[in-house]
């Protein structure tokens, strides 16, 4: 079935495309199709394939997948792996009348553009990518395909600020790693230190953030003060010493294990939901130790959030 959203996307992206009817399923390069999927972890989610299989058997018409012809003359899927897998499943399990041919949106464009489409097409159709997946793909577009942050954010339907902060946090982590600072600081706090351009001051500020368990806002204040003294290394050092004195009690409490980083309930909830979403039905049986741990953690966090919500 034709899908106007897909046609709009392909036209907007400026690629040549046409509809090709009745391409045999045997023409699909399945290995290459699964390899180039934007989804993190498993390329195919069996539960979703099953859902689509049931839908097809119920007579639902699914939008035509998007693909391109490889050099070997076979069709590689850009978007629609789950749909194609559902058609294959129907044939393999003999669930209904055999489906031998399907219609396709065939794209003819540069390899880099195919790469971009593969990473972005799920924004408008198919099983959507999670926010984390979209953020990773946006960063990839900026780093490898020279997209601007604005263009990458738009292509993946996230805010430009989210992409910018994530890239800044990665850059700070990389600079800190150069000086063997490997303690974990959340990216949302790490990006606040981006404005500190002097490596020594950055490492000292990061140590302070970690040791005093500073929040994102507090880290911003630290970074502002350190950067304001950027003209002199000595003055920067002096400011950091002063800040360290100011946070002396916090550092001592953290060392004694009395202070843990405060996480906002909304962030806790989002993490809990993400953790639950990450537990996919097909991987639950048998329950792997890691999944068990994650699910217990997710339930615990949800309980915490519910309790704090009730008490508030």
């Amino acid at each position: 079935m034709r899908d106007p959203r897909v046609e709009q996307l392909l036209t907007r992206e400026g690629v040549e495309w046409h509809i090709e009817k009745d391409i045999p399923l045997s023409m699909i390069d399945w290995e290459a199709s699964l390899k180039n999927q934007a989804r993190l972890g498993q390329a195919l989610i069996q539960e979703h394939v099953d859902e689509l299989t049931i839908a097809i058997l119920d007579g639902v018409e699914l939008p035509d997948p998007i693909g391109y012809y490889s050099n070997e003359g076979r069709v590689v899927v850009i978007s629609g792996n789950h749909r194609v897998a559902a058609y294959k499943q129907i044939n393999e399990l003999k669930l209904g009348g055999p489906i031998e041919k399907i219609d396709w949106y065939i794209v003819n464009t540069f390899p880099w553009k195919i790469d971009v489409l593969t990473r972005t097409a799920n924004v408008i159709e198919g099983l959507p990518l999670s926010k984390d997946e979209r953020l990773e793909q946006a960063k990839h577009l900026v780093r490898v395909l020279n997209y601007t942050e604005v263009a990458a954010a738009k292509a993946l339907a996230i805010s430009k600020t989210t992409v910018s902060y994530a890239l800044q946090a990665d850059e700070v982590a990389e600079r800190l790693a150069r000086y063997r600072f490997t303690d974990r600081i959340p990216p949302t706090t790490l990006c606040k230190l981006y404005r500190i351009k002097q490596d020594n001051a950055l490492v000292e500020a990061a140590k302070l953030v970690k040791e005093a368990q500073l929040s994102g806002d507090e880290a911003t204040e630290v970074a502002k003060k350190v950067e304001a003294a950027a003209a002199s290394e000595k003055q920067q050092h002096h400011i950091l010493e002063e800040l360290r004195r100011n946070y002396k009690d916090r550092i001592a409490r953290t060392r004694r294990g009395e202070l843990k980083r405060q996480i906002a309930p909304t962030i806790k909830l989002r993490r809990a939901v993400n953790a639950i979403n990450a537990i996919r039905a097909e991987s639950v049986i048998p329950l792997e130790p890691d999944l068990e741990r994650r699910s217990k953690w997710a339930v615990k966090k949800l309980e915490e959030v519910t309790k704090s919500g009730q008490s508030a």
Binding site: A38, A43, W112, D170, A177
Partner: protein, 159 residues
């Protein structure tokens, strides 16, 4: 099997190591690993973590280079460090990467132009008529170039 050096991350890795200094695995995993596609990285980690997957890939790459005598390796307490040994090889890699890049067709620079809708419809009509006459489907780029050539040829004839 694909040549590992065809990948951006390996070229970036060599570029970092080219100054002959010691670098920690953790730093290299971040600095070069960021060019690995996230979906490929996540499939290389048991937990599905992109960062762990990238670290695994870069670590494997470094071990491979070390086994082939391209790098030196040392353990400094809890850190594993790497330094370039075979500079000739590194130069070859970077020269090869440069040549490969220059031999690739350039990525076209897309620019958005804004024209009145009436003009667009007129141009679109001319393009369709041209395609119907010639029997071939052409891109806007090709059409506009041909239009320009025809226009210049017409002006020359008039002169």
């Amino acid at each position: 099997m694909a040549n590992p050096l065809k990948k951006r991350e390996s070229v970036e890795l060599v570029k970092i190591l080219l100054d002959g200094k010691w670098y920690d695995t953790h730093y290299l995993a971040l600095a070069a690993g960021k060019y690995i596609a996230p979906e490929l990285a996540s499939r290389r980690a048991k937990t599905g973590s992109v960062d762990t997957g990238r670290a695994n890939i870069i670590s494997g790459m470094l071990e491979g280079f070390f086994e082939h005598g391209r790098l030196e390796k040392q353990h400094d307490g809890r850190y594993c460090q790497w330094k370039l040994r075979d500079f000739e090889w590194a130069k070859k890699v970077l020269t090869w990467a440069g040549e490969s890049l220059s031999s690739l067709p350039p990525i076209p620079e897309f620019k958005t132009i804004t024209i009145p809708l009436a003009d667009y419809n007129l141009l679109f009509g001319v393009k369709q008529a041209y395609e119907n006459t010639t029997g071939e489907s052409i891109t806007w780029e090709v059409f506009l170039i041909r239009l320009l050539v025809l226009s210049l040829a017409g002006r020359k004839q008039q002169e």
